[in-house]
């Protein structure tokens, strides 16, 4: 416990409480805060768009190789983030497998753009959403869906009014974890999207840069991330730390 607590206490100990607000409202800090918010929410949106259908397929559809697909989905969760960044470069970089086609056909390049940062964050954060949602789908009682069908509800109506409310807790937890992971993403972002204030320099990158020039700013930004992480954990406390 001391091993985990001391670094956090060290951070609190060195925080420049006096001029905290001044540190957090410099142009660089504000850009980083805004960018982090935009990119992490964007990553959650991408994860919802791609992850929820994927969770459905994994939970409901029996197909050969399902276990393999499930393993593949969670791969980016355990992959070292920098390795994820390299993989993204090889896939979506200007010379990459898919990136080359995107560049030639549409003139779209993803590295060095905010969209690239969103992609990098979504890549590492989506598994959290998929796993949590899939668990919720598996655990729910499907008879409610059957009942809705016998009462004449279409598939979309059933999904909206029956399934979603039933998996809401799992989905909510998945979204929270996904968002927290996306917010804290560093390795894949700096490798794939690059580092430019206002475009790709999210908060973790800004902290890393500030460490070398302005320690006070780095600590102030770190504190914000720490508070956000704590807030996410507290909101999830009933799921992770069941109060007996």
């Amino acid at each position: 416990m001391g091993f985990l607590a001391v670094p956090l206490l060290g951070l609190l100990n060195q925080t420049p409480w006096g001029h905290l607000l001044a540190e957090l409202t410099t142009p660089i800090a504000l850009q980083a805060l805004r960018l982090s918010l935009v990119c992490s929410l964007g990553a959650v949106a991408v994860s919802l768009l791609l992850g929820v259908p994927l969770a459905f397929v994994l939970a409901r559809v029996e197909f050969p190789g399902r276990n393999f697909v499930r393993a593949l989905t969670t791969l980016s969760m355990v992959l070292p983030p920098v390795v994820g960044g390299v993989a993204l470069l090889l896939a979506f970089g200007r010379r990459g497998l898919v990136g080359r086609w995107l560049d030639e056909a549409f003139g779209i390049t993803l590295p060095f753009t905010t969209a690239g940062a969103i992609l990098a964050e979504a890549f590492v954060a989506m598994p959290f959403l998929v796993i949590s949602t899939e668990a919720g789908l598996r655990a729910m009682d499907r008879r409610y869906e059957d009942a809705a069908a016998t009462l004449g509800a279409g598939r979309w109506l059933t999904f909206r009014r029956v399934t979603l409310p039933l998996i809401a807790p799992s989905l909510g937890a998945g979204v929270a974890l996904c968002w927290a992971r996306a917010l804290g993403e560093f390795g894949a972002t700096i490798t794939f999207a690059g580092n430019l204030p206002g475009v790709t320099q999210t908060m973790p990158l800004a902290v890393y840069i500030a460490l070398e020039t302005d320690l006070q700013a780095a600590i102030a930004l770190s504190l914000v991330l720490l508070v956000v992480s704590l807030a996410v954990l507290i909101s999830l406390r009933d799921r992770w730390f069941p109060t007996a």
Binding site: M1, G2, F3, A5, V6, L9, G10, L89, G93, R94, R95, T109, P111, F112, G194, N195, L196, P197, V199, T200, Y208, I209, L211, E212, T213, A244
Partner: protein
């Protein structure tokens, strides 16, 4: 049950905090059983010195017997590490500004090499970059080092001399990262040292920057005061300044220390 667990956890946290407060503020002078035996030194060197210092380290070990462990990064990162009491014995920076950052923690510095800038592009120069003026082209993806990195600062100086404004697509933390973005094909051009273009291999080539726009980079080296092997550290520094060390640096494309 939960109450007593919380009490134990709180007690542990307080104990850890007390330990940290006691041991944290002193620098690592009297840590018991220093693992670095006198026959080993740690050299913190600018990223652009990677190839040259690796060779010098090998030669020094062969001549002296002392093992040399090298830590390459942007000079600004190394200076910060030294300020945070990282265990360095020698510090070789790519500019005087970062050496000044640690002047209270290091011995008197000496200039041991110089370098010049070059534009790095992909092999074959597909975008036809001819000079600094071309870097202002908004369709070109230019990568520069961050302004706090020595080569980033020198790049800004060269661009100012040429009267060119460049909007980079990314600001990298050391010169090797700039080279790698170009050699990967992600960026079209970057500004690095001439030595890095050579070290970059077949994937990159250099475009010269004329003398009147170019900048001379000066590299100082110094021993770190908190070193546990001060004699060996000094020996390494002397070796770098000696004929053998200078010969190796020259073979990797570095210039001699400016005489002025």
């Amino acid at each position: 049950m939960l109450r007593s667990r919380i009490r134990v956890a709180a007690a542990l946290a307080v104990a850890a905090l007390v330990l940290a407060a006691c041991g944290g503020s002193d620098d690592n002078t009297s840590s018991g059983g220093s693992s670095a035996s006198p026959a080993e030194i740690k050299v913190f060197a600018a990223a652009s010195l990677t190839a040259a210092f690796t060779k010098i380290g090998e030669d020094f070990t062969a001549a002296n017997g002392t093992k040399v462990t090298l830590n390459f990064a942007g000079s600004q990162a190394l200076a910060t590490q030294i300020q945070q009491a990282a265990p360095a014995d020698v510090f070789a920076s790519a500019d005087i500004t970062n050496m000044d950052k640690v002047k209270d923690l290091a011995g008197p510095p000496q200039i041991f090499a110089s370098n010049q800038l070059q534009i790095v592009v992909e092999k074959g120069n597909p975008k036809g970059v001819k000079g600094l003026d071309d870097l202002a082209n908004p369709d070109l993806k230019v990568v520069l080092a961050a302004p706090d990195v020595p080569v980033g600062k020198y790049s800004q100086q060269a661009l100012e001399k040429a009267g060119v404004t460049v909007k980079p697509v990314s600001q990298e933390q050391d010169v090797k990262a700039v080279v790698s973005k170009v050699s990967l094909g992600e960026a079209d051009a970057g500004i690095v040292y001439t030595t890095d273009v050579t070290a970059g291999g077949d994937k990159v080539e250099g475009v010269d920057i004329p003398e009147d726009q170019n900048v001379v980079a000066t590299y100082p080296i110094a021993t770190v005061k908190a070193s546990k092997a001060p004699d060996q550290a000094q020996a390494f520094m002397d070796y770098v300044l000696s004929d053998q060390g200078q010969q190796v640096l020259k073979s990797y494309g570095f210039g001699p220390p400016p005489t002025s």
